[in-house]
Amino acid sequence: MDYRPGILKVLHAVAGEEINPEPDESLFSSGLLDSFTLPDFVSGLEQEFSITVPDSDLSARKFDTVEKVETYLEDKVS
């Protein structure tokens, strides 16, 4: 399954702009996310992919790049 379109959809909604970062580009370093938009990004992913992110997965590192989010979703959705 290609998760990238859904990830970018959520990212654009949260960041408020349609910037498409490189898959390995830090969403924090690039300024697309910060500490207070990250919770919205995670909530958006939960809704978009009908998953629940447990407290044990609430680490910024897991959601730092599009690639990492894809890896997480592959593990979570399958």
Binding site: F28, L33, S35, F36, L38, P39, S56, S59, A60
Partner: protein, 312 residues
């Protein structure tokens, strides 16, 4: 049974503005304000210690409650930034208050320590008598005021707050509490080698889920709706976090007293400094309705405490 009898506080004199910090951290003063809601914070003088700040807040609280130190059954001091590893500040505070046999315990938990201490005190008060709870921190000695340390340096300040938990009378009766600990994320917020280490994004992610959950657990347990909560005294970590907790919990933001703009994040002291100022603003009158306290901190430790009108 246990009651919130009264509060006290102490803030060091030195005011550190965003302009002063911005210059050494290589950021804009406006960015500090927008990222945190903080305009200024207080720093302890070189001669001040966590114990001396705590003693000043303790004396303020005892004076406001018209209680002599000798009448205390116990002292509990919460601090994540103690002057030394052991003994902690509690014994020094007891000594400074002229006590040499009253039990004095330390709760070395940054940010959530004073909430934990309040819950402990509510359990002890009926047995030992009035318990003085103090949160005291000198976080300015745990951060690096450099461009590399800017993400924590801009947030933290120094101060102390206190509350007297009384077994027989007070402004409000403590009904219940929720305390939780999850060590699996301990690394995201810790003080190690005298330096604060914080993964801010992960801390906010965790706090934004755990604080409202603890508050909801207490409200559900007592069949209290968000509309019935009169006031929420929350750990003053970040204005944005307080605003988001208000939104998630369904409790109007104006019911959350906020003083982070003046003092920054004073870790475990912030809950009781905020409570003291809230109580001063209402002229020490008995609480009418429900009062919630909520905090989140290193450990991870988090929780909430519910108090209500003393008449009920």
């Amino acid at each position: 049974m246990a009651f919130l009898r009264g509060f006290g506080k102490y803030l060091p004199e030195r005011v550190v503005t965003n302009d002063e910090l911005a210059a050494v951290c290589g950021v804009e003063a406006e960015w500090i304000l927008s990222a945190s809601g903080i305009r200024e914070r207080r720093y302890a003088a070189d001669a001040e210690t966590v114990a001396s700040l705590a003693t000043s807040a303790a004396n303020d609280c005892l004076t406001r409650c018209s209680l002599e130190a000798a009448e205390l059954g116990m002292i509990i001091v919460a601090s994540g930034s103690p002057d030394r590893y052991t003994p902690g500040p509690a014994a020094m505070v007891a000594q400074a208050l002229g006590l040499n046999s009253t039990p004095a315990l330390d709760v070395p938990v940054a940010s959530a320590g004073s909430l934990i201490a309040m819950a402990m005190a509510s359990q002890f008060a009926g047995t030992v008598g009035p318990v003085l709870v103090i949160g005291s921190e000198i976080m300015s000695r745990r951060v690096e005021r450099t461009p590399e340390g800017k993400n924590t340096a801009i947030l933290f300040g120094d101060g102390a707050g206190a509350v007297l938990i009384h077994p027989g009378e007070g402004l409000a009766r403590i009904l219940d509490h929720v305390l939780r600990t999850d060590g699996s994320a301990a690394e995201i917020l810790r003080i190690e080698d005298r330096h604060l280490h914080m993964d801010g994004g992960s801390v906010i992610l965790q706090a934004l889920r755990k604080i409202p959950a603890a508050m909801k657990e207490l409200m559900d347990r007592h069949s209290i709706s968000p509309e019935q909560i009169g006031t929420v005294i929350m750990h003053q970590a970040n204005l944005n976090l307080i605003q988001r907790v208000a939104k998630v919990s369904g409790i109007a933001l104006e019911r959350f007293p906020v003083n982070i703009d003046h003092y920054g994040n004073t870790s475990s002291a912030s809950l009781l400094i905020a409570a003291a100022e809230w109580n001063e603003g209402r002229n020490d009158l008995p609480v009418d309705g429900h009062l919630l306290f909520a905090a989140f901190g290193a450990g991870l430790n988090w929780g909430a405490l519910l108090a209500s009108s003393a008449k009920e």
